[in-house]
């Protein structure tokens, strides 16, 4: 009887474990969205790329000043990015340590974006900020980014190839003075509806 009870218990244990293992088995990647870690890696890579690029390296403290304005990321990828995220990526790149080091060494400055200037000017609570606010603002360059992706999916697998391109454009000549990209894939397994 002991053996019977023991075997029953073993059966229950094995059955239970099987149930649990099906539930808790090593879970495959479940989402192919861009992650915060991706943004960190991307910003670090782009900041280093810009700081070491030929156009920046060839500049000096007495070079003609670059005044750079930023635009939010244009999101042409398959992943939804909030407006805040789109601005945050550009702001974080602007504020990255390798970029901040360029301010004096390479005579590069950033200005707040045009929409912000307008918003402040129009803010009824900030009545001291009239049209004289930002009147001398003269950006010479624009830093922008465009995110794209290619998506491939079957019934149970999805892969997104993300292509994130950053660029600084000379606003007078139209020439991109720096451009680089950060590309990677993310893959997810499982029915999208399940």
């Amino acid at each position: 009887m002991k053996a019977a009870c023991g075997s029953a218990a073993t059966g229950v244990l094995i059955g239970g474990l099987a149930l649990c293992l099906t539930a808790c088995a090593a879970t495959p990647q479940r989402s192919s969205r861009m992650t915060a870690d991706d943004f960190d890696a991307m910003i670090a890579a782009m900041a280093a790329s810009l700081a070491h690029s030929d156009p920046v390296a060839s500049r000096a403290a007495d070079s003609p000043r670059w005044v750079i304005t930023i635009d939010r990321v244009q999101n042409l990828s398959s992943d939804v990015m909030t407006d805040a995220e789109q601005w945050a990526i550009m702001a974080r790149l602007r504020g990255a340590a390798p970029i901040r080091a360029l301010w004096d060494q390479k005579n590069i400055r950033f200005v707040i974006r045009a929409e912000r200037v307008e918003k402040i000017r129009r803010d009824p609570d900030l009545y001291a900020f009239d049209d004289s606010f930002g009147a001398e603002r003269r950006p010479t360059h624009q830093m922008s980014a465009t995110f794209r992706s290619i998506t491939r999916a079957t019934a149970v697998d999805r892969t997104d190839l993300y292509y994130c391109e950053f660029e600084i454009l000379d606003m007078a000549s139209g020439e991109p003075v720096w451009s680089d990209r950060f590309e990677y894939k993310r893959s997810a397994h499982g029915h999208v509806w399940d």
């Binding site: 023991g6 073993t10 229950v12 244990l13 042409l76 045009a114 290619i150 697998d157 606003m171 893959s187």
Partner: protein, 205 residues
């Protein structure tokens, strides 16, 4: 009454099962964050999809950009020019009928990005953005005074060119052959100063 060892075992088994089941049930629904994959890797999802493999597009844009950069640098009008010539990237049209416009834009963007970063061309060529884009930026930044940003007439007509291209596909059986044809034309006269095609073959298994 003291339970016999097998029954104690049963009891603990049940507790363990219950605990595990509950743990399984309470797992948060959000997917794990995992590592990035190399863009040149191919995944099961991509293979299973009936559409063009992304890696084929990636490699194709790499190859075309590399060869085009080398070729452009060798064109006499560019090689012998005093200083850098100006090239406006014009239309590159998708005539494949299978590559979606989204995928095609990926190829075009990647190609442009490769060209901009290529040392073969940056010493000799100045790629410039299109007027429409410049106009939008200038308007948004409130610097749209006439003459602020450069127009084609502002460039030296002798050294200004437009790069146009077409993206084609030929499919026979399981084989897809993609090719891109590029033309560098003199901006003012539209005279073709360079034309070549770059192809890549993909066999679907």
């Amino acid at each position: 009454m003291r339970a016999s060892p097998p029954c104690r075992l049963s009891f603990f088994c049940c507790i363990a099962i219950s605990g595990l089941l509950l743990a399984g049930c309470n797992r948060p629904p959000i997917g794990e964050r995992s590592g990035r994959l190399d863009p040149y890797d191919t995944t099961g999802g991509e293979v299973g999809s009936l559409r063009v493999l992304p890696v084929a597009l990636t490699e194709f844009s790499d190859q075309v950009a590399q060869r085009l950069a080398q070729d452009l640098a060798q064109i006499p009008q560019i090689r012998n020019a005093q200083g850098r010539v100006t090239v406006l990237v014009g239309d590159i049209e998708n005539k494949t009928g299978i590559v979606s416009s989204n995928d095609f834009e990926f190829v075009r963007s990647r190609l442009r990005n490769e060209l901009l970063g290529s040392r073969y061309v940056t010493d000799r060529i100045k790629f410039v953005a299109r007027r429409a884009r410049m106009s939008r930026i200038a308007e948004r930044e409130r610097v749209a005074d006439e003459g602020y940003y450069a127009d084609p007439p502002d460039y030296d007509p002798a050294t200004t060119f437009a790069l146009n291209g077409d993206f084609y596909r030929v499919r026979r059986g399981d084989t897809n052959q993609y090719y891109m044809e590029f033309q560098l034309v003199h901006f003012a006269t539209n005279e073709i100063v360079f034309s070549d095609r770059y192809d890549s073959k993909q066999v679907r298994r």
